[in-house]
Symmetry: C2
Subunit: 196 residues, 2 copies
DNA sequence: CCCAGAACTAGAACCGGTTACAGTTCTGCC
DNA sequence: GGCAGAACTGTAACCGGTTCTAGTTCTGGG
């Protein structure tokens, strides 16, 4: 139910779902969280409000599902163009910064989806998990093959936390996007430089 | 306006503010975020709804202000009973776990205040900053006097992120409280063991 | 082709955060 | 004491997320 295609949905159903997510992304990019109004999404996607609620448990689930799609797209792009950097820390930071840059281009949308992610709805949690595992997989590509996997996983999780928290700080206006990237880089070096 | 007393408030005004926060804490502890209804808070605190909105910019600001008070109380207690542990990492983890344990006792309330913290309202951001700086100060007490301050600050910020993100994961049901503590410990060791 | 049940639609209704407003009470100042 | 203005009260209204309902359309099995 998260988004991982094919869940035995009719063609027209998959299309409805797609239109709903696209409408949410558009409205979110134009005016942020508040502008994503369920009535508007339904209207723009040309489906009934009740149907929208059949596909998504609520506004936050809709936005979270949109983020999952976004993250998946990012993974594709990273796979095409691998991370650059001398040290492992640099490559990890490069990857996470790239993810952040994508969000930087759509600040209103980013703030909307991140805000949606931080709600307790179980359906949303599922999406959060999907996003986490994508970020986790993406990071793994920055490590050399002979890097101990156990340590790598612990570091990835910790950096995932720092990334998420920094992102939260950015979309909520606690810090600028630059500081967010700096915090990330600082943490990456604190953990990785000792293994160079 | 965050909460730092004295802002030239009448005695009766300070009392109103106090009653409002207490009411919010009570309702939050009983039923979580949804149970903190502005009409109820106003009624329980014996103030008019409009007045409540004169003191707090919205529901989230009210809850965030309540969290600031909570964090400040925690700081007092930590100052009384300093952190225990052999290594610096252990002491830092001890401190952060203690903070987490306090929240563990009021899961519904914790989830309510954390959820409130993650909104973009500027007033809320101010509260978030207050809480951050409290956590930052608290952590500093776990380090030996001769620990390089610059590194300590970077580590504190990174661990603050991990703490916040883990907390978010817990209140939103992504992970159990135990895992949250473990993630924290793992990150602390990744960064601190190299300085033992 | 036909039917039962699921899915969909339009629209009203409910609920709670937030705002607006008219009237009352408090506060500082003369 | 008396006054102006700020603060407070009670209540109604507004808005948007969510739920509900009655009627319509689609889908798969016989």
């Amino acid at each position: 139910m998260t988004e991982t295609a094919g869940d035995q949905l009719t063609k027209s159903q998959a299309a409805r779902r797609e239109r709903a997510i696209r409408a949410a992304l558009e409205l979110g990019a134009e005016g942020g969280y508040d502008a994503v109004q369920m009535r508007d999404v339904a209207h723009r996607a040309d489906i009934a409000l009740g149907t929208l609620y059949r596909y998504f448990s609520g506004k936050d689930h809709l936005l979270a599902a949109a983020l999952v799609e976004w993250a998946t797209d990012l993974e594709q792009r990273v796979n095409v163009r691998p991370p650059k950097g001398e040290s492992t820390a640099d490559r990890v930071v490069d990857i996470l910064r790239r993810a952040t840059r994508a969000m930087e281009k759509e600040p209103l949308l980013s703030s909307a989806v991140v805000r949606a992610l931080s709600t307790g709805d179980p359906q949303v949690s599922q999406c959060q998990e999907d996003v986490s595992s994508v970020m986790f997989r993406i990071q793994a590509r920055a490590y050399p093959d002979d890097f101990p996997a156990a340590v790598r996983d612990r570091i990835s999780r910790a950096l995932g936390h720092v990334w998420f928290s920094s992102l939260m700080g950015w979309v909520n206006g606690w810090v600028g996007i630059g500081e967010a990237g700096d915090e990330l880089a600082s943490a990456a070096h604190l953990m990785l430089d000792q293994y160079e």
